[in-house]
């Protein structure tokens, strides 16, 4: 990424935290620049590729689909970059909004809602292949995830997106609210209700 080489910067824009004010300034400069010279999009791609891929992977548990959708998101973002405005919505929220829309369309078209449980059964091989952790620990994690996912089935697709953004992507509630264009309190309440549904499903399942 020769174009991104800025050895004089007091921080590393590639590894700085997403909400680091210096990085945000740098990112805004890149966005403005990319509207004039789209090759400057490189930085945005490098910084966000892994995050967007991980979001799709956690939702779909299928590498090929996650890669395809990630590609769609970046193609769409590049072609629509001129639409992005700094309206109190960070670039990350704008990008995740594209991802959520793309995912919803994918799920709708493929009618995958019903196969929410299916792909995870084939996850083991892939997770092990990717992981540097102890296979026994990974296997336990997969089992635990399977148990939770069984109960997440009580949620709508959009509710699962909120859960994925908050707990799998670790986005702050404020950022998820920005993605959906709603007040932070509203998103907090939505997440709370969604968790409540899952919790009731889990405890009901245990007969408590």
């Amino acid at each position: 990424m020769a174009r991104d080489g800025h050895p004089g910067l007091p921080f590393d824009p590639k590894t700085a935290a997403v909400d680091d004010p210096d990085r945000l300034d740098y990112e805004l400069g890149r966005i403005k620049g990319a509207k004039i010279d789209p090759e400057l999009f490189d930085y945005l791609y490098e910084y966000y590729y892994d995050r967007i891929f991980r979001f799709f992977f956690n939702r779909l548990k299928n590498r090929v689909d996650a890669q395809d959708l990630t590609a769609d998101v970046f193609h769409l973002a590049l072609s629509r970059l001129w639409q992005f405005r700094w309206l109190n919505k960070p670039f990350q929220a704008w990008l995740y909004r594209i991802a959520v829309n793309r995912l919803n369309r994918h799920l709708k078209l493929a009618q995958r809602q019903r196969s929410w449980l299916a792909p995870i059964d084939s996850m083991g091989e892939e997770v092990f292949a990717d992981s540097e952790q102890d296979p026994a620990l990974e296997l336990e994690k997969i089992r635990q995830r399977q148990r939770i996912e069984r109960h997440l089935a009580v949620l709508s697709n959009e509710e699962r997106n909120w859960i994925a953004l908050r707990y799998y992507e670790d986005l702050p509630v404020k950022e998820i609210a920005a993605i959906y264009g709603v007040p932070e309190g509203t998103m907090k309440a939505r997440l709370h209700r969604a968790l409540g549904k899952v919790r009731r499903a889990m405890t009901g399942d245990r007969g408590e």
Partner: protein, 230 residues
């Protein structure tokens, strides 16, 4: 008894962090760079707006455009027979024109192109007055449209907050009789419960009046009607 904190912890602990396929990542980056280069070299000016010129002729038939040196993409087709076309140079979307029940004849293209260019220049030079603004908030996302120039040959500047254009239900709603009814009532001053705000849109201060309504089929929507303060 499982509480919220336990559940939150379980969710966090079971997040998968797969290693991205570096080959895919590099291939996609190459593809995006090529596309970016193509966009950059194919036009002298990157525009920050899609301008739409409403022409009111009859509908959709892609003509042989390559011979004219102009590309025309159908970007959306609406059930009532209207369509939006996007003109391109190379792969770069720039301005688009909306036509109602129209077919674009190759012979028309030069004049269309000329009109688009005139509108584009007038807009870029600030010679087109902003004369109207309207918008809709739907499922938490908002789209505003600013109208420059004259009604019949106007220039629409879309401000899309939250990619509402991707929302199929939104498109269904704005084609529904209910939306037409709401627009009519708003223009006639017959909608109750208005709130007002001043917004900066495309560099203009706009006094925006908004009405929150609940539709039995589409849920809560907010209809916006603006008056430019210039």
């Amino acid at each position: 008894m499982l509480d919220h904190d336990d559940l939150e912890l379980q969710l966090q602990e079971t997040s998968f962090a797969p290693r991205p396929d570096l080959e895919h990542k590099a291939a996609l980056q190459t593809e995006l760079r090529a596309r970016a280069r193509d966009r950059h070299t194919s036009r002298p000016l990157i525009l920050t707006a899609i301008a739409m010129v409403t022409l009111g002729a009859t509908f959709i038939d892609q003509p042989d455009l390559e011979s004219t040196g102009m590309w025309l993409d159908v970007t959306s087709i609406i059930d009532d027979g209207s369509a939006t076309f996007s003109t391109r140079e190379g792969a770069a979307p720039s301005f688009s024109i909306g036509r109602s029940n129209s077919s674009v004849e190759p012979a028309e293209l030069d004049s269309l192109k000329l009109r688009l260019e005139q509108k584009r220049l007038a807009y870029m030079e600030g010679r087109l007055a902003l004369n109207d603004a309207f918008g809709l908030t739907f499922e938490g996302m908002t789209a505003y449209h600013l109208t420059y120039g004259e009604d019949r040959d106007g220039f629409y500047f879309p401000v899309d907050i939250g990619l509402i254009e991707d929302n199929e239900r939104y498109h269904r709603f704005i084609r529904s009789p209910r939306y037409s009814e709401i627009c009519g009532l708003a223009y006639e001053g017959k909608l109750a419960g208005a709130t007002t705000d001043t917004l900066m849109l495309d560099g203009h201060a706009v006094a925006m009046t908004s009405w929150r309504l609940t539709d039995p089929e589409f849920g809560t929507i907010v209809h916006h009607l603006g008056t430019p303060l210039n």
